[in-house]
């Protein structure tokens, strides 16, 4: 059944979203609000992963409820290497780029939730619908959060730096 396929994709997308949020948090430590909030918001995605894995079992899926999302050592070394080689863009531009990445990734997760919610409604699967009711609003808030920071930071970073 195709709901299972979307759930699997959602799980992968949500994992990537958590990963991106944590990477934003780590890379942009000097931006206090972004550093703290990105970590908090990654926690929401991790909570979703537990829920998706739980529901996945009903659809015959064996999804990891707690997959690795922390930026790995190798990735960190690569980044450090990039920095040393002077290939790292301006920190301000990198921040905008990373926030855009979060927004796009959250949009992807959001559309997955829409598909699942619609299928749940049509198949009168109350548990599945309740899952989307619990999680999808968080995704929209993650998306708006990234967008709001892009809005505020763009003039400063693009014009005054």
């Amino acid at each position: 059944m195709s709901v299972a396929a979307v759930l699997r994709e959602l799980h992968a997308h949500e994992q990537e979203l958590a990963h991106r949020l944590l990477r934003v948090s780590e890379r942009h430590r000097p931006e206090p609000e972004i550093h703290h909030l990105a970590r908090d918001l990654a926690g929401w995605s991790r909570r979703h992963l537990v829920e998706i894995a739980g529901t996945g079992r009903r659809f015959g899926l064996d999804l990891d409820p707690d997959p690795a999302v922390e930026p790995g050592l190798a990735a960190r070394l690569r980044e450090k290497g990039g920095e040393l080689a002077g290939r790292r863009p301006e920190p301000g531009l990198l921040l905008l780029h990373d926030l855009r990445g979060v927004h796009v990734q959250a949009a992807e997760v959001s559309v997955d939730w829409v598909m699942i919610a619609q299928a749940a409604q049509a198949s009168r699967d109350g548990d599945l619908l309740a899952l989307t009711d619990r999680c999808h609003p968080d995704t929209l808030r993650q998306m708006r959060w990234a967008n709001a920071h892009v809005k505020v930071l763009s003039p400063q970073i693009l014009l005054s730096t």
Binding site: P30, V152, I157, L159, T161
Partner: protein, 810 residues
Amino acid sequence: MGKIDRIAEPWGTRTPYGPGQEWPSRVDAFLEEGAAVERWVPSASILHSNGDALDIAVAGGRIVGVRGRADDRVNRGRLGPKDLYGWQAGRSSDRLARPLVRDGDRLVESDWDTAMDRIVRRSKELLDERGPGSIGFYTSGQLFAEEYYTLSVVAHAGVGTNHLDGNTRLCTATAAAALKESFGTDGQPGTYADIDHADVIALFGHNMAETQSVSWARILDRLAGPEPPALVCVDPRPTPVARAATVHLAPLPGTNVALMNGLLHQIIENGHIDREYIDRHVVGFDELAERVKDYPPERAAEICDVPAADIRRAAEVLGTARRLLSTVLQGFYQSHQATAAAVQVNNLHLIRGMLGRPGCGLLQMNGQPTAQNTRECGADGDLPGFRNWANDEHIADLARIWNVEPDALPHYGPPTHAMQILRYAEQGSLGMLWISGTNPAVSLPELARVRSILAQERLFVVVQDIFRTETAELADVVLPAATWGEKTGIFTNADRTVHLSEKAVEPPGEARADLDIFLDYAARMDFRDKDGAPLVKWHDPESAFEAWKECSHGRLCDYSGLSYARLRGPSGVQWPCNDEHPDGTERLYADGGFWSAPDVCESYGRDLVTGTPVEPGEYRALNPGGKAIVKAAAYLPPHEAPDADHPYALITGRTLYHFHTRTKTGRAPQLDAAAPEVWVEVAAADAAARGLAEGDLAEVTTPRGTVHAKVRVTGIREGVLFLPFHYGYWDRAPDGGHDRAANELTLTDWDAASKQPIYKTAAARIALAERGTGPSAAPTTTASAPLAAAGAPTSGGTAALADEQPGGTR
């Protein structure tokens, strides 16, 4: 007339009264020995937010004392210790009297032309090279309304920058944010007179005894009279409020939302709500009822580490109050989840239908004397007149008043908050920061970071102040300002009472009023309106006030019915004051009447967790009819929780005898002597566990730094350390290191919704540095009272004898 040592007895003699009666007068005064007073000049207190009306005594061209005004509704003649003794600071010989400019690693005396030329030249270079976003302003909660309004026009429409905020960000941003979330617009719903009528008074993170001592005297007088109110106190420290409380809840720092949710859970479960009021005036109740289901008293008790029985008892007192007055201050505003917690107090009043009637009041307090004006005039990350930056009609209206094109006013996002302005300075996109009337090198969190930012070669720092502060030492240009008593202007207290403060004496040397400095800058920059006329069309305090009246007209903070002539009459008018309310307005929101309709509201609100502004369309759908908004919030753990390395929660705060960074109170001998040196408050069990005793020198450490302070063992809750934040370095040897200011230890983090920095959750450790030889110098009269007798009680002796006349008229 009696004499009383108001250092030893901060709240003076009791004048008891009962519910619904008028608070009796008591005239307090303190004059220089042998003063032959020539004139009395009307003003109000400038060292806290209570707005006590007073007259300044003048003799021989000098200020020689102060006296409270018996006919004023705010204080009925009373003054607090800071008012009685603090005025002496203005006469200090080390006042800034000439502009200073940087010459290499020194500041040298200069003249106004040279100093202003440097500022104007740098401003123009930056505007040419990098645009208005490269210039920022960081102002105060201690200037006058005319000055904030002028600065607001200069910054927003002259320079065209979005980067203007006040140190009100540190004290009152959450009050404003919480009011906007719940009522759509800033504006204090209640009035101090609600103290006269309430049968329950709840103080949430508000040590009123030390922050607004005259209003606390009003509560003490109710407590000493017939049918006294019950008090509920939320505070981790054994404050005078806690000691007087019927129920005292001392939650772990950072857990206020859990506690509030526990209280609301009980109140809803017990049916202590006003269903009819909710149906008529409120949106969002169902979501709140659902959310607080997760917080039965036992769960809240576990998170906050307070007994569940106490939560039940407090909820019973709050839920059965017939006339409930609540006040909120820094224990909520400067803590984790600040806005979410303060909003829950609004929710308490909304679901109980307790607003806009005598005794049914809500006071989201301010910290500073003129913070209200910073907020109203648009100098604190808001637009003037509570206009909404996200509403194009409001921008067009402001542009019309200032006669500029709407797109000349930056409104691409919310006005930039102070911590973000500082971040722009750190990251290099801000090239000039003009700091007026505040001392961020002692008052902002994580001082090592703040110093390193302000000291950058690439950042041009202007400091406008009355003393050579720690911040001034880092400036490129220092402008000497006039202070209270040396200039004229109005200011508004925390319950919307407007006072005129008149010039009594000349400022020292070449010092100038802040208004004149801003007007001079506008003239030298040649800012113009869209017709080529000067942008700033006023020239003195009264013409500036007239301009501000026009800007406020038709908004909630309407001053249009006031004038200097009117304010020179019987004092103590509360805004809005206009044709409809010619005598002012005691309480807002009687029978609903909120300013929350989508077209009029100041803000569409924010997500309380992520801080994301709510989109206009979203708000319109949520609240089309302009009701009050109940917003629920879940508890989230603080970002820096105690751990094995740093096992204590560190909170910072104030003492009764000092204001901010002691620039004034440290120069008033009686106040300085009452609390001369930093201390750290430790619970007895924690002191024992660490081998610490009263008076030992301790080393308090967080990941950001170390402070040395003498131990005061108090009844503070276990697991919590308290440091007063007043002490900096100006009165210390220059090479004494950086181990005295509490903000060496605080973390750079802020509430996402109000952007108020968090001063009350940091993880710390404490260890013995040196065995003590006597008790610490902490006051014994206040929250820092020792658990066991420690040395002589705090007193001021003959030097602090003040006049006190219960029932007096002058």
